[in-house]
């Protein structure tokens, strides 16, 4: 494996991407998107509650990365639509500026950490005036009745509801791109041609759909399938081409590490 996704310090999609690009000096070209996706899914699964915000954020990034990658994997696309080309540059600049912002505050956090470490070696005196002066201090309990005290306790002890979205019905996601590739390898040879919509019909989770989509892209990259989309945002047709011979037998070895 050329690099390791360190999920133990996982702090969000920007962090992971930053880590991949800067610390490990990995070229996007060499990053298997699927491995990043699987890293995230493993992380999402570990989370106590499903964080939809983070999942969405991650998907946006993944989508941009997929697009950037496909651009470079398929240089022939260069003479495509100028609007699309510009939109892609815009996406890239947005991602870049967010990564830079993320890095800025990571470094600022490190500076705050150093300051607090330094400050934590020095302990403040908090003793206050000794008893000789206590009688001078105003009586803070003047005018406070036992009933007022009880009311204050009731106010303090009444749980304050934390408003959150009810999500009891959301089952934890147990999908990985590797699994999705396996499923596709089982299903596609049997059906031959299928639309992406049909392929994901039974899936309720949006994230599961995305995982399927990434698996489709991976197989496309391997040359195992062909993709066809006649109009923008139109129906995506998946055609099974067969497994390239050098991959058959161990087609998804890459995902198991």
């Amino acid at each position: 494996m050329p690099y390791e996704v360190s999920t133990s310090v996982f702090e969000g999609p920007f962090d992971l991407l930053l880590q991949l690009i800067t610390a490990d000096q990995v070229d996007l070209y060499e990053i298997s998107i699927c491995r990043i996706v699987d890293g995230y899914l493993a992380e999402l699964e570990r989370m106590e509650t499903l964080d939809l915000d983070m999942a969405t954020e991650f998907l946006l990034i993944a989508a941009t990365l997929v697009e950037l990658k496909s651009r470079r994997l398929l240089p022939g696309l260069d003479d495509g639509d100028l609007d699309e080309e510009l939109a892609l540059w815009e996406e890239r600049d947005l991602l870049l500026s967010r990564l830079l912002e993320c890095k800025t505050f990571k470094d600022a956090a490190a500076a705050l950490h150093r300051l607090s470490e330094q400050a934590s070696r020095s302990y403040p005196r908090l003793a206050g005036p000794d008893e000789r002066f206590l009688s001078l201090a105003p009586d803070l309990l003047a005018g406070i009745t036992p009933e007022a005290l009880r009311d204050a306790f009731i106010r303090a002890a009444t749980p304050k509801p934390i408003p959150r979205v009810q999500m009891d019905h959301v089952a934890p996601i147990r999908a990985s791109v590797a699994d999705a590739v396996e499923e596709l390898l089982d299903e596609l040879p049997r059906v031959g041609v299928i639309t992406f919509r049909r392929l994901t019909q039974g899936l309720v989770e949006r994230l599961a759909v995305i995982v399927r989509f990434l698996a489709v892209l991976e197989l496309y990259k391997q040359g195992a399938i062909d993709l066809e989309q006649t109009e923008r945002l139109g129906e995506l047709r998946v055609t099974w081409l067969g497994l390239p011979t050098e991959l058959s037998g161990m087609p998804i070895e890459e995902y198991q590490g």
Partner: protein, 190 residues
């Protein structure tokens, strides 16, 4: 000698940070010197502060050593205590006091958990004013101080004992209500 200097500095630091008198045997233990050496060092410091005409003195009171302000500047300290402090309990401070009162003995962390905010400053003020005091130590790790109300508190409130406080039982939702609330409002793992 270097070792002596550090020991002297550590003694000053320990007494400075303590919020009450520090017993000589505890200082001896922490500084890894004899109780006699502690007393000799303290005497040296006392003489030094006096020679330098410091505004504080190192005194030996019943419980041990502590820093006190120099009697010569009492007038300033009195003015500070009179003017520098608020004359009323804030609503937040009253809630904190109420929790200590009804839940005693209770640790600072427990009070903070109920109030949902940091209560260190309020607890310190209530303690300094003599309304609450550390009555026990949490037997668990960390041995946090557990606070309770004092005789002064009862006196100021005009009651004879904690039994005279109005009961709160019927006002507080039971655990099953709280649980239902939390279940309905929080994200739970599916």
């Amino acid at each position: 000698m270097n070792g002596d200097r550090t020991t002297r500095q550590a003694l000053e630091a320990l007494v400075m940070v303590a919020d009450g008198p520090v017993p000589p045997h505890l200082l001896a233990e922490l500084l890894e010197i004899s109780a006699e050496a502690v007393e000799a060092l303290a005497a040296e410091l006392q003489a030094g502060y006096e020679a330098e005409e410091r505004g504080f003195v190192l005194t030996r009171v019943a419980g041990g050593y502590r820093f006190q302000t120099h009697p010569d500047v009492d007038a300033y300290v009195e003015r500070f205590v009179l003017e520098g402090q608020s004359a009323r309990l804030s609503a937040a401070a009253l809630e904190t006091l109420a929790i200590v009162c009804y839940k005693q003995p209770v640790s600072r962390a427990q009070v903070a958990a109920i109030r949902g905010v940091n209560v260190d400053g309020v607890i310190r003020t209530l303690h300094q004013r003599g309304y609450i005091d550390a009555v026990a130590r949490d037997p668990g790790p960390g041995q946090a101080s557990l606070y309770g109300t004092t005789a002064l508190f009862l006196e100021k409130l005009g009651i004879d004992s904690l039994d005279d406080l109005p009961s709160v039982a019927e006002f507080i939702p039971g655990p099953e209500v709280v649980e239902a609330l939390e279940h309905g409002l929080r994200v739970t793992e599916g």
